[in-house]
Symmetry: C2
Subunit: 154 residues, 2 copies
Amino acid sequence: MHNCHTHNACIETALEAAVVICDDGGLRFTKLRRAVLELVWTSHGPIKAYDILDQLDSSIASVTPPTVYRALDFLLENGLVHKLSSLNAYVGCSHPHRHHECYFLICTGCGEAMECCNSGLVDAVALTGRQNNFKPKSITLEITGECGDCQGRH
Amino acid sequence: MHNCHTHNACIETALEAAVVICDDGGLRFTKLRRAVLELVWTSHGPIKAYDILDQLDSSIASVTPPTVYRALDFLLENGLVHKLSSLNAYVGCSHPHRHHECYFLICTGCGEAMECCNSGLVDAVALTGRQNNFKPKSITLEITGECGDCQGRH
DNA sequence: TCTAAAATGTTATAATATAACATAATGAGA
DNA sequence: TCTCATTATGTTATATTATAACATTTTAGA
């Protein structure tokens, strides 16, 4: 599903965006946080916390769960990564500067998750909120299925 | 958020519906499965697997995790309950006879989850699938926020 | 009744996440 | 520059969620 032939470029772009966002927001983009974000982006698909832990360079930080979860919390809070609840896994946000509501197409074939922003969907959610006198705060929308590439591979 | 003044009636209705569905499908609605479904329905909000475990009558089944997870798996597979991934919790399906795509409004105030079926939302998901050449199989859509009742309580 | 399949029992452990408290690094104001 | 409050990280332990693997029991149909 992924279409970046030079994934290194994606990673670099994401890290640079993170630097800008943290600078602008007075946030500290520490070595650890950078390392975790880089691992998230280096993974082509959603990555699990304990896989990040396994891959974390011990010269950067203590390789224990709180280390990773704290870094992930920071990245989540500041819109740099998303958590996919249905997988207990994490993905980099592909447009962190404009972190509006988005959703994910998760392919069971290749394991990748495509981040989408479709105003139709978001509008439908907002409408449903109004109809039910419900005030939405956060949305988890994860669509599991098969991407185009994987449908062809049967 | 919930509007059933006689929640006992909800529970009874749900259990009766389950009997019909299982009979029709040649499925075995055992004592254990019935007990677990009843506990799910008895809880006003989404309930966690280990809370079910705590409440499970030891005269009905062995009070161990596999017991509960197997029963939940059965109920999930047959559309009698839903799992809310964002909470790791379970709720009874309120229209198990017509188990189409639905979604949840989860109130952070009262902890309840309202099950909704809005064709607009489902259509928007289908459309987004087509636009991305993606074949959806299952949808996780959980909207967290505040229900009308709880908005008033400030 | 016999038997295969389904359900449940049982024990252990995997996978995911947080609590609680200690130490270190940072940066803003004196 | 020094101080010190804040933020970040280290460390240990444990809570929470879920499954593996194999044994036994129950069930429905031949």
